[in-house]
């Protein structure tokens, strides 16, 4: 139960008006309470449909397989965390040497790994100056956003 009603019929009509002037075929809005899909109607009538789903989203449960190494960061060490949840890669491409090994010296902008999220490669920056103290996640493992990938000794 909740006080506010989401998106009035006028809001939905406005969303459709915006989409209609664009090349988009559908828009999906997902919140913790509902999913709204606004889509061009099938059959070429030129109309649009709104489809609401009020069942509690199951997205979190589907991601349960993601590995979350909850490692205590040792005293005096700085944790390196991923910018997004995704898949952790130590090298720029398969077969290439890793970005860093234990004992390597890094600066705040040094790229130490890659996180692949939805087919996009995102660099992981060290965020601090120092030497790599530990590498805590295996290559190609899925990770959550709060995972600790590496530690740095400043």
């Amino acid at each position: 139960m909740s006080g506010d009603l989401p998106l009035s019929p006028e809001d939905v009509a406005e969303i459709v008006a915006i989409l209609d002037g664009s090349a988009y075929e559908r828009l999906e809005i997902r919140t913790t309470r509902f999913t709204l899909r606004v889509a061009r109607a099938e059959g070429g009538s030129g109309g649009w449909t709104q489809e609401w789903d009020w069942s509690v989203p199951q997205a979190e449960a589907a991601d349960a397989a993601v590995v979350a190494p909850r490692v205590e960061v040792g005293e005096g060490l700085v944790a390196v965390r991923p910018p997004l949840p995704g898949t952790f890669y130590r090298s720029p491409q398969p077969g290439a040497p890793p970005f860093v090994e234990i004992g390597d010296t890094v600066g705040p902008d040094s790229v130490v790994a890659i996180i692949e999220t939805m087919k996009l490669m995102n660099p992981v920056h060290a965020g601090a100056s120092g030497t790599i103290a530990a590498i805590l996640v295996d290559n190609a493992a899925p990770v959550e956003a709060e995972a600790v990938l590496m530690t740095i000794k400043p």
């Binding site: 139960m1 909740s2 009509a13 109309g47 649009w48």
Partner: protein, 426 residues
């Protein structure tokens, strides 16, 4: 000023009332039956109270009192026109969003309503003096129960006996009355608002497309009524509302002769109606808001001369019914509900993906309301919206509405209540 509003209803109208109540800053408390526990209105209300039935006066009043409600909105159907419910609510210190109990009682008795309308100067359908064919109707009336057409004197006694038995079974009241049967009539009604002193009208609606006395399509304004007749019709409705010192929203129903546009008072519905959104679409006035303001003790906030009617609106009732099997109800779970969307389209529905249509209640799962600058634009929009609509999991009347929207008589406009006779097996 109402702060805590108890809603004694379910389905789309519960959601409709919730929306306006929230917008006005009220806290909403919804009566919820076991079958409706997981319904969309139950999810969106601020608070819910379990009730065994939406027809139990005692259970509803107890729940409203326990919830500390200061007003009850009865919606339509169920107890919305029940004078005893309104009386018990007011005795419990809770405002009933609707007219006075005495008004409800008078309009609920169709014979009494006819007498009052005559006293207010409204024309009524001639009785026996009009000769045959006659239409027998139940005094407690509604939904076509106890209604019988009689063409000859010698059929009258048998038809009366049958109608009385039907009315007794349906309403616990076997009293009947007769009116002249008007072969080609249109069902036209006028929306009124009153504050007990003053009344205004919000234009008319045409509800001639009915199947077995059940409305399927409604539109505002009623097409092709000559200006002088239309003005007389609207004035008659206001005259009745003022005669009754009517408080709240109400609808005065008329039978309009399709040939000469003479009109006759049929009855007054003392509540919000299913088809109210077409009036909202052409006036821009939120009728539920007006109901709540008047119930809260405010005088009418609208003046007749400032009510402007613009464009044309049509409503199609989407029911969970199987058109191929004589429109028998089709309850179940709606797997997918892709309702039309876009400018000029409004959908009032409590049914989303996974929504339940319990077998206990009426089959209305949503109302599609389209509007346009004129009737042709509204009809075109109706057709395109119906083409987009996709409901999976239950059978619906959407296909029937597509056929109606494509029927040349409907496209032309101004059909009479015999529309379905020319409609195959529908």
């Amino acid at each position: 000023m109402i702060r805590r509003l108890f809603i004694a209803n379910r389905g789309e109208i519960a959601l409709r009332v919730l929306r306006t109540a929230h917008r006005l800053g009220m806290t909403t408390i919804l009566a919820v039956s076991e079958a409706d526990r997981d319904s969309l209105p139950a999810r969106l209300a601020d608070e819910t109270r379990p009730v065994a039935s939406y027809l139990s006066i005692e259970a509803l009043i107890d729940a409203a009192v326990a919830a500390g409600a200061d007003a009850i909105h009865p919606g339509y159907g169920f107890l919305s026109e029940n004078a005893a419910f309104a009386r018990v609510a007011s005795e419990a210190g809770i405002v009933f969003v609707g007219p006075e109990p005495a008004t409800l009682a008078a309009m609920g008795d169709k014979l009494e309503a006819r007498r009052i309308a005559q006293a207010a100067g409204l024309p009524v359908v001639p009785g026996r003096e009009g000769g045959f064919p006659l239409l027998i109707k139940a005094v407690a009336g509604g939904g076509g129960k106890g209604m019988k057409r009689v063409d000859r004197e010698e059929e009258l006694d048998a038809a009366m006996a049958m109608a009385a038995a039907e009315a007794e079974a349906a309403f616990g009241d076997g009293r009947l009355y007769v009116e002249r049967f008007i072969a080609s009539g249109r069902h036209v009604e006028v929306q009124v608002l009153g504050d007990g002193t003053r009344a205004v009208h919000l234009g008319d609606r045409d509800c001639s497309i009915q199947r077995r006395f059940q409305k399927l399509v409604e539109e505002a304004p009623a097409p092709f009524i000559p200006d002088d007749k239309r003005a007389a019709l609207r004035n008659a409705a206001v005259r009745l509302a003022e005669h009754l010192h009517y408080r709240g929203a109400g609808t005065v129903e008329f039978l309009v002769d399709a040939a000469d546009f003479d009109f006759y008072f049929l009855e007054m519905n003392a509540r919000i109606q299913v088809e109210h959104p077409v009036t909202e679409a052409v006036t821009g006035i939120d009728l539920v808001e007006q109901q709540l303001l008047i119930a809260g003790g405010e005088p009418l906030g609208v003046r007749q001369e400032t009510i402007a009617l613009e464009g044309h609106a049509i409503e199609a009732r989407i029911n969970a019914e199987d058109g191929r099997r004589d429109f028998r109800p089709s309850p179940g779970t709606v797997r997918r509900a892709a309702w039309p969307a876009g400018p000029g389209i409004r959908v009032d529905s409590h049914i989303a993906d996974g929504g339940k249509v319990p077998p206990l209640y009426d089959s209305l799962i949503g109302k599609l309301i389209v509007s346009g600058s004129d009737r042709a634009e509204a009809v075109a929009r109706l057709r395109s919206a119906l083409d987009a609509l996709e409901i999976e999991g239950v059978e619906t009347t959407a296909g029937l509405h597509r056929a109606i929207a494509a029927d040349p008589r409907f496209v032309q406009g101004g059909v009479d209540t015999r529309f379905f006779e020319g409609f195959g097996n529908a």
